[in-house]
Symmetry: C2
Subunit: 180 residues, 2 copies
DNA sequence: GCAACCAGTTGCGATTTGCAAGCAGTTGAT
DNA sequence: ATCAACTGCTTGCAAATCGCAACTGGTTGC
């Protein structure tokens, strides 16, 4: 995958697989999009799936190379790096929505980890667009001029859904836990 | 991934990645869905990306294990095996549509290999549903009772788009090639 | 009878993965 | 000023996976 571009084929599915077709890249983007992680350590220690630090470093580097992420210094801490989603990555929201819907239907998901996918599916393209606007504001620094003040932000709707499930589960008997 | 189900997490995105997150599984499903490949050799020798036979055999076995495909003997040839998409796999059509749309927009696709993705995107959920009905008829043996006789089958629309691009390219100067 | 075709399998070097530990710095509290 | 905790990684290494090439046992059509 150098400058002379050694791709296996020019098919859009294949080219996407070449970028995202491994066991970690999509999960990192998911955590940045839906879990609001921006720093290396956040991604490392809050990872549900337990990514290793060398693999995280490698994937972040590749995602930056591919134009999916940008890396910037954190002004509050000389050693911290802030990773941001690019427009290219933000436009994966509909892909995530469809994958989340499919996975929730066909795979043995846990309720609290799939509620957000289900809400996003139910919200449809309109909600996806709204969520992408929120991500642009957060990651690309765009203004909130086009924001609809009457609508609850999508990230808040998703968090509320997650917390409702957790609260119900805690009440039902098990010892509940908060956290993202 | 045994009976005791050792998953990294119950997140729908993660579980999907565990099944499809490699460099070949999605491409095999793509070729079966959009290229109408049903036999081992078809998948092997017509693969745009050049999959190796051992990897193809391994992925087919895993996809059958996961309930994405079924394998049956071909009555016309004692050695031939017919692979069919299951409903679980057919319902990946919207995922493919979104990935194809995203890839076509952001990656260096070739026109003739992305025209089908673009047509599928433009057709929207209505076209995806129609295509899924066609796949159910072809792979699950469902009746064509619900088919709309006024509508050109999706696979035919996609093929027509592909051939139109190829014909134009051939006319424009280069030596064109047919083939799927 | 024989070439072509069928779905894979085998051997093997190269690459990738994943775990554990370590590193050179920075920060904040004492 | 000191020190523990935290920062984004890097390194070493064993295990698993990948991908190429050759090969297998059997079937089919001519």
């Amino acid at each position: 995958m150098d400058a002379v571009s050694e791709h296996r084929s020019g098919c859009p599915i294949n080219l996407t697989v070449e970028i995202l077709g491994d066991r970690w890249s999509l999960l990192i983007l998911r955590d940045m999009m839906f879990g609001n992680r921006r720093h290396f350590r956040e991604l490392l220690t809050n990872s549900q799936e337990g990514i290793a630090s060398n693999i995280l470093a490698d994937r972040l580097r590749k995602l930056v190379e591919q134009g999916m992420l940008t890396r910037a210094d954190d002004p509050t801490h000389k050693q911290k790096a802030i990773y941001s989603l690019t427009e290219k990555a933000i436009e994966l929201v509909p892909v995530f929505a469809q994958i989340g819907a499919w996975g929730s239907k066909w795979l043995p998901v846990s309720e609290e980890l799939s509620i957000r996918a289900i809400l996003l599916e139910q919200g449809g393209p309109r909600m996806w667009e709204q969520f992408m606007r929120e991500l642009r504001r957060e990651h690309l620094g765009e203004s909130a001029a086009d924001a609809d003040p009457d609508e609850l932000p999508v990230w808040m709707q998703l968090r509320a859904g997650y917390e409702a499930v957790m609260a119900r589960k805690a009440g039902e008997g098990g010892a509940g836990q908060t956290g993202d």
